[in-house]
């Protein structure tokens, strides 16, 4: 019997070692340890043994059982691991196959630039405001100190709706200065982006509809030094902290003193040429015009019921298309309003 047990053990160990699948293992378990299994069959013969032999054989049988069970567990783990490995190997894929196509839409490039600019100004304390595009001449011109007969009022420049030229498509976002100032008391600090309209045929650099961004700050003791500080810090946030700026005198009817702000060309660093050729970015000027600005004209403040001896302010305006085209290297303005998906998808 001892020999029987020993041979069962040896055969079992060998068989288990060779079992390759979970099914083989299960079959062996039943064959070896099951109710009708080999070990059980041997144990059934225990009754024939003497009282002295019984505990010894019992102990031996238990040892054999424990050894088989241990081996069985060990083999189960190994076989399952092998099976999983084989399954994973079989499931392997070509990860370079493209993913499922999920089209994400694109924000219009010009609005992307506008959003960046708005966020910068909001961070600096500007409230963003919007206003009507069909506007009164009173707001678009008169109260901005643009006199009757001024060329910008001509029907060759401005779109009108009425015979008396009193209702028009706004030619600038500056009427928002008036709309804000007549309703709010200083301190005022607003940014007014929006559509504006001028009678220009569409070409690579013109469009009858385009966008401006207007800014206005009114408070006590605002100086031209403040204007410079505010605009330089804003523009450096847009164009980079190392951007070099300059201010030039200019003329706008609704600001005095007035100025334009230029940025030194980042391509040619102000020299106007690259490798002996005229710089294509600034067209040889060395500077790129960024915006027009100035101290709010006292007459404009008074037109809105703000005491110009107590308050002063600055205003600025910039063209969005020009800025977006420069930043995104768009060469033709018409692309912006063409809305070709092949263009939109690039941004």
């Amino acid at each position: 019997m001892k020999q029987q047990l020993e041979s069962i053990r040896q055969a079992a160990m060998a068989a288990l070692e060779n079992a390759a699948t979970p099914a083989d293992l299960e079959e062996l378990r039943v064959k070896l340890l099951g109710k009708k299994g080999e070990l059980t069959a041997v144990l059934k013969q225990m009754g024939k043994l003497s009282a002295e032999e019984r505990p010894v054989m019992g102990q031996l049988a238990n040892n054999v059982r424990a050894a088989i069970e241990e081996k069985l567990e060990q083999r189960k783990t190994a076989v399952h691991a092998a099976v999983l490995e084989a399954k994973l190997a079989a499931e392997s894929i070509d990860v370079t196959i493209p993913g499922d196509e999920i089209e994400i839409g694109h924000q219009h490039p010009m609005n992307q630039v506008l959003q960046q600019i708005k966020d910068i100004f909001v961070g600096l304390g500007y409230q963003v405001v919007e206003g009507p595009e069909v506007e009164l001449a009173d707001y678009n011109f008169t109260r901005l100190n643009i006199e009757e007969g001024h060329p910008s009022r001509d029907r060759s420049d401005t779109f009108y709706f009425t015979d008396d030229d009193s209702v028009l498509l706004r030619t600038q976002t500056s009427p928002m200065q008036i709309r804000v100032m007549e309703n709010a008391k200083p301190p005022i600090c607003i940014l007014a982006p929006g559509r504006v309209f001028r009678k220009d045929e569409a070409d690579a650099t013109h469009s009858p509809m385009f966008h401006q961004i207007e800014g206005l700050v009114v408070d006590e003791n605002i100086t031209m030094g403040d204007l410079k500080g505010a605009l330089i810090s804003c523009m450096r946030k847009i164009y980079g902290e190392d951007a070099v700026m300059r201010f030039r005198p200019h003329h706008f009817p609704f600001t005095e003193p007035s100025c334009e702000m230029d940025m030194q060309c980042h391509k040619c660093h102000g020299t106007g040429e690259i490798d002996g050729a005229v710089c294509s970015t600034c067209h040889g000027e060395g500077w790129i015009e960024l915006l027009g600005a100035g101290m709010v004209h006292p007459a404009v403040l008074e037109n809105c019921g703000i005491d110009s001896t107590k308050y002063s302010g600055f205003a600025f305006g910039m063209g969005l298309e020009r800025m977006a085209m420069g930043r995104l290297k768009i060469t033709d303005l018409r692309l912006i309003f063409d809305n070709d998906v092949r263009f939109l998808n690039q941004f």
């Binding site: 994400i104 839409g105 694109h106 924000q107 219009h108 609005n111 959003q115 708005k118 100004f121 961070g123 600096l124 304390g125 500007y126 409230q127 405001v129 009507p132 595009e133 069909v134 009164l136 007969g149 001024h150 060329p151 001509d154 029907r155 779109f159 209702v167 301190p187 005022i188 600090c189 559509r195 309209f197 009858p208 509809m209 700050v217 100086t223 031209m224 030094g225 403040d226 204007l227 410079k228 500080g229 505010a230 810090s233 300059r246 030039r248 005198p249 200019h250 003329h251 005095e256 003193p257 334009e260 101290m295 004209h297 002063s312 912006i336 309003f337 809305n339 070709d340 998906v341 939109l344």
Partner: protein, 795 residues
Amino acid sequence: MKLNRKWINEEFVDLSAVSDKEFVETMTVFGQKVETWERMDAEIKNVVVGKVLSMVRHPNSDHMFICQVDVGQAEPVQIVTGAQNVHEGDLVPAALHNSWLPGGVHITKGKLRGETSNGMLCSFAELGLTQNDLPGVFADGIWILEPDAGKPGDDINPIIGNDDTVVDFEITNNRPDCYSIIGLAREAAAAFGKEMKHHEPMVKGSDAGSIFEHLDVEVPATELVNRYSSRMVANVKIGPSPKWLRQRLRANGVRPINNIVDITNYVMLEYGQPMHAFDYRYVSSGKIVVREAEDGETLTTLDGNVRNLKAGMLVIADESKPIGLAGIMGGENSEIMDDTTMVVFESANFNGTSIRQTALALGMRTEASGKFEKNLDPMMTIPAVQRACELVELLECGDVLDGTIDIINYIPEPKKLPLEPDRINKLLGTRICKEDMVMYLNRLEIPVEGDTVLVPSFRPDLNLMADLAEEVGRSYGYNEIPITEFRNSTQGGYSQEMKLEAKAGQLCRGLGYSEIITYSFVSPAVFDQIRLPADSPLRNALRIQNPLGEDTSIMRTIALPSMLEILGRNNAYHNKAAKLYEVAKIYLPVEGQPLPEEPKMLLFGSYGEGETFFKLKGEIEALFAGLRLKKASYTAVKDNPSYHPGRCASICMDGVEVGVMGQVHPLVAKNYGIDSEVYCAEISFTKLLGMLLPDATYTPLPKYPSVSRDLALICDENVTVAQVEDVITASAGKLLRKIQLFDIYRGVGVPEGKKSMAFSLELRADDRTLTDGDSEGVVSKVLAALKDKLNASLR
């Protein structure tokens, strides 16, 4: 406004030591922005004076000559020419080997019929000159230079006046004085802190009589003519102007004509005061009347065009007819001719707006009208006419008559402004002392007496402290004004509408839609293109009175056409698919109000594989959920002519219609060139603003499981999903948590005219696990109600 630097260097302020680059930079930063500038000699290189030493006939040509030309080098060079007007001993322009001529013409040595030619002898045209620049010079051949023009080897550029730089300034509207050489010289002198030389024109006069014996001037149009000054010249000898004058005109882009016309142009450039010269012979009865034209009058202007005049246009007339279009162009009938002997100089100040409007109406903006429209200084008419007469005497081309006719209707009062250094410093943020301010103003020829600024007549733009602050500021240097770290006390931000718009945009893009930007104005034809009924109130659109074209002549009252146009364009570009959105304003006229309402619409548009009604509907639902809006309901719309009658729904929230969606009617799609299915939605973004749900608060998660019961219902074909859902919702009671349609089936097992709709009902209680009895109870109530209300039964 063009400025040739030599002119101001020679006459007004010598800045010849200043490089072109420095000049341009300094002027720009001082406030006179330079648009462009160029050296006049940039185009001509290596062209010199040559002396023809000998000429022999070319052995292989019957018309060419082989010339030995002294070009100032050790040895003469051989140049072959085909010209017949050259003689031994002539001085000629010689383009040497590796030389450049205007237009990028490159001359190199070569062989002409076997003979070496080391360059080219030039005609004046080849040097960029015209007969006007060189009156009397033979045009069809080599330009034979004057014997004293230079010596062999001299650069040709100085000889033809090209040793100059032309600077083109952008002059701002408020500075009419800078449309002149004198005005720009004044700015240049101030910018460089130099003294400017002034020249007061002096007329010697003659014994040829007085203007009053010949001319009478009347100005009935007092409102449009501020001043009309006139002098006359007798015994005029028309001929070419001298070289110095011609070269100054040429450098400024003005074509020399003859001495009298050149003088008027020269004075216009120098003083900025347009002048005109009439041939006195054609001034009928010796009378000039400056009046408004009558409707139907015509005038042939100097350019040969017949102009049909209208009332209100200002003309210079004689007793019977117009002889000039005031401030714009003279008439052909009084033009200076070669045999003109008596000339009337006009130096006038006209109303700028009137001149501009007339020039615009006639489509003939000229140098003169461009100046007048800026509103010139009325004090300039006399110095200008004096200068013209002085030049007549200098050029010895006539005898100036005694006397000046000077009719003055309006001269502005001399202005005085207080000089307030503290206020100026407070506005600029500077600490400039009063003495420096006075110095800056004086440099600009603005006198200051004590604390009073005496504004000169040529500076109508100076009216208040802020104007003086600009003069002080730019003289001090805008870039020198100390920068302050400006800090706002205000809180920046966006309105709720802007935030929602930004969020909607993000959601739309997440759903695969790209943003477009379209014009606010459209063609009136769009209403027909989208099949809008003739009586639709949306056809009442604001009309632009002066549109660029019919295509952009009305303000859109509906944004669908803009979207369709872009979809159509993308389709035309052979883009296989497009999914686009726009937040677009529409412009709705309001009775009795001058301005329209401008609500915003959210437009979706798509075409391409996979686009369906239900895809779009699902996307809209996702957008609404993302924006946290009230529940939307959809009802079929069969009569919206822009949409497919069976595939269009109105979208309502809270009983308010907020939009419409569906498949665009195939006829409409075809109008935009698209044959495939097009889906659009028009949602009032402005209305959505009022449909926001309150901010979410936490609802406890369910403690007890839900049970799901599926119902397959047979009902009539015309019963809608919404109807079934409504009945289920109304009858199920509070255990019902969710209804989901999962199948619609027609075919085997379902009778003709019927359909099967399968719904999954999710039931749950908050306080216990549901029993079979609970769910059976709900289902039987629901089935009873469905049978009763919709005649639907379990399949």
